[in-house]
């Protein structure tokens, strides 16, 4: 298990403990998704707003006054050569890395830089890491069941029974991620791509506002890649998605020639526009082919 996940996890839990102590009224429910912490306000239609973010690791500028805005329900693809700062950006959004300067807001009211990872998670930002982590020996159905938002307490878990709506919800997600026929299979027996989907499904089950997807089609067959693209497209509108990807074919499928693509380079936005536009952009060409 990856240490960074570990960190995030415990941090999240500490936060929950505080919650439990603080909100006596919350009672057993203190382990639910803590939306009541501070509801983001999307009145202005902006889901995520990064402003002049700079991060430097001992001298090397990973992010250089990066500014970026993602609308509610928007799907944004982010491309760029290695070392362009894509992952660092994700780290900043999820609170894993603190920027040296700049602002990052979730909705119009939540300053991400003042929240810790778990708070960010509970505010509605979910991140999918490259390596799929699912519960190998549980069935697909059970994987989702555990991800479904509800009371996380031990007592509750002991006597929990799925309600009709919850089952339907799971069924929905299963259908969404093309795993309905696999519902009863052990997750460990799924193909790599299916695991990716399952994990995405698990994220969806947590009903995030913003999904950060780090190279979601890494190691997928073309056919799987296509279906993943379809899946993401169905999510557009319901959630905001930020997809970091190298695979141009995939990006093309997602953007369908009209959605915005952002090109990162040396820690700042090099170009923005449709895939066609940015691909014809000379600077971009230099960046990709020049060296």
């Amino acid at each position: 298990m990856t240490p960074d996940l570990q960190e995030a996890g415990t941090a999240l839990l500490e936060r929950h403990h505080q919650q439990a102590v603080a909100a006596a009224s919350a009672g057993g429910a203190s382990f639910g998704r803590l939306m009541h912490a501070s509801e983001p306000d999307f009145a202005h239609g902006v889901a995520l707003y990064l402003d002049e973010i700079s991060v430097s690791f001992d001298g090397f500028k990973a992010l250089n006054s990066l500014s970026l805005a993602i609308d509610v329900g928007e799907m944004r693809c982010i491309i760029g050569p290695n070392g362009a700062g894509k992952t660092t950006m994700m780290d900043v959004i999820t609170g894993k890395t603190r920027p040296d300067s700049g602002h990052a807001h979730f909705g119009s009211n939540i300053d991400l830089l003042r929240l810790r990872e778990p708070q960010i998670v509970s505010a509605g930002i979910c991140r999918k890491f490259q390596k799929p982590t699912v519960y190998e020996e549980l069935s697909v159905f059970e994987n989702l069941e555990l991800a479904l938002q509800n009371d996380r307490g031990v007592r509750a878990a002991l006597f929990a029974r799925l309600s009709g709506p919850q089952r339907e919800r799971i069924a929905e997600i299963l259908q969404l991620v093309h795993l309905l026929p696999e519902a009863h299979r052990i997750a460990g027996l799924l193909s790599h791509g299916q695991k990716q989907w399952l994990e995405i499904g698990m994220l969806l089950a947590q009903e995030p506002v913003l999904l950060l997807l780090d190279e979601p089609v890494a190691g997928m067959t073309d056919e799987e890649t296509e279906r993943t693209a379809e899946l993401f497209l169905t999510l557009v509108g319901k959630h905001s998605l930020v997809v970091v990807e190298h695979d141009m074919k995939f990006v093309d499928m997602l953007t369908q020639g009209r959605r915005k693509v952002t090109v990162l380079h040396e820690g700042s936005v090099l170009a923005e526009g449709t895939l066609a536009e940015v691909q014809s952009n000379t600077q971009v060409i230099d960046v990709y082919l020049g060296r």
Partner: protein
């Protein structure tokens, strides 16, 4: 999509009844064997009769059933939660000692020295009971201790260990350190629990002679019922969402944390439960084998528990029980049939199982099923 879809989604195997019809009939069958057949064979059938079941057999099965409870407990934490304890002998012994203390008091004045104090205290020139023996005369109180002491010890230890996220081998090793320390502590005569000799030569329980066939049979049946009860409890647990969280922790603890569950609470609760199960097993064990002493806390004893579970099959509930019976049955037979060589058999058995049956005896069937890609967990 059709509203029907979700309904058929229910994994029947995990929902509804605890057991299917066949399962229940099996359990009832077992209950009948334990509570009716064996008592009859042992008590009603005359000794000469080939059908007669000797006290030795009864005692042996009773002992193994106690072990089976431990194996079940090990399975819950190791097989399902992925925490290997090499120190559950400690909890087994603690339960045993709690029971033993009561039995020592029951000896009353029939000891060597006709004293209120147990004989070993008289040896050591003690004039009064140490505080640890305060409630030892009361059956109820000691039975509470049988549960409470393992619960508290495991609770405290577990809370610290899980909170500081000690994992895998590290955890196993310090559980071993703990039980080893416990063993040394109980070996000390000053500790006040009979030192190396521990407790023995029990006379009666609840005023009834402990050697009487009827008493032995009652204890036997009690043990059997406890085993079945724990089996059903364990089954209920792994079938619940709680049980699935445990398995999730085993497979990807970080993800569990990241989806908002608190592994600490889950691990701790199952850890304490398993400790208590061992404690109760110990309490049932002592009056039937007639002795409790610190060697029950030796690291080797705890490792054997793990081995029962492994041989039978981790991650299945029947497996550990099978394992306990298989290993100990084999041991009892070998130690008489080949006193010089039995360790070879036992050693070879462990090696073979880990190499060829990673899922233990139950794994043989499971493997066949797995090839069909069918869900295999029990």
């Amino acid at each position: 999509m059709t509203p029907a879809a979700p309904v058929q989604l229910l994994p029947e195997s995990r929902r509804g009844l605890l057991l299917g019809v066949r399962g229940w009939s099996a359990v009832i069958g077992v209950l009948a064997v334990i509570a009716v057949l064996i008592p009859l064979l042992n008590l009603a059938v005359p000794a000469g009769n080939p059908l007669h079941l000797g006290d030795y057999g009864v005692a042996l099965v009773a002992k193994i059933m106690c072990y089976a409870i431990c194996a079940l407990a090990m399975d819950l934490i190791w097989g399902y939660t992925g925490i290997l304890s090499l120190g559950h002998g400690l909890y087994f012994a603690l339960g045993g000692y709690a029971m033993g203390m009561y039995l020592m008091r029951q000896i009353g004045h029939d000891g060597n020295y006709r004293s209120d104090l147990p004989d070993f205290m008289v040896f050591l020139d003690w004039k009064a009971m140490p505080w640890t023996w305060a409630g030892s005369a009361s059956f109820v109180f000691q039975m509470i201790l049988v549960v409470a002491v393992p619960a508290v010890v495991s609770g405290v230890f577990g809370w610290f260990a899980f909170r500081s996220r000690i994992k895998g081998v590290y955890f196993s090793i310090i559980t071993q350190a703990l039980t080893f320390a416990g063993m040394l502590l109980f070996f000390r005569n000053e500790t006040g629990f009979g030192g190396n000799n521990g407790f023995t030569d029990f006379k009666r329980i609840l005023g009834i002679s402990i050697a009487a066939p009827s008493t032995r049979m009652v204890l036997f049946v009690l043990t059997g019922l406890t085993l079945v009860a724990f089996y059903l409890l364990a089954r209920a647990i792994v079938n619940s969402k709680y049980g699935r969280v445990l398995q999730a922790i085993r497979d990807a603890e970080s993800r569990v944390m990241f989806t908002g569950y608190d592994p600490l609470k889950y691990k701790l609760s199952i850890w304490v439960l398993s400790a208590v199960m061992c404690g109760i097993a110990g309490a049932l064990y002592v009056p039937q084998v007639g002795i409790i002493n610190p060697s029950e806390m030796s690291p080797a004893a705890s490792i054997e528990m793990a081995i029962w579970a492994a041989v039978g099959g981790r991650g299945t509930l029947v497996g550990p029980i099978v394992g306990a019976f298989f290993v100990n049955g084999a041991k009892s037979w070998f130690t008489q049939a080949f006193p010089e060589f039995w360790l070879y058999f036992l050693g070879a058995l462990f090696i073979a199982v880990t190499l060829f049956l990673p899922r233990g005896i139950m794994g043989i069937k499971d493997r066949l099923k797995k090839e069909k890609g069918v869900e295999v967990k029990a």
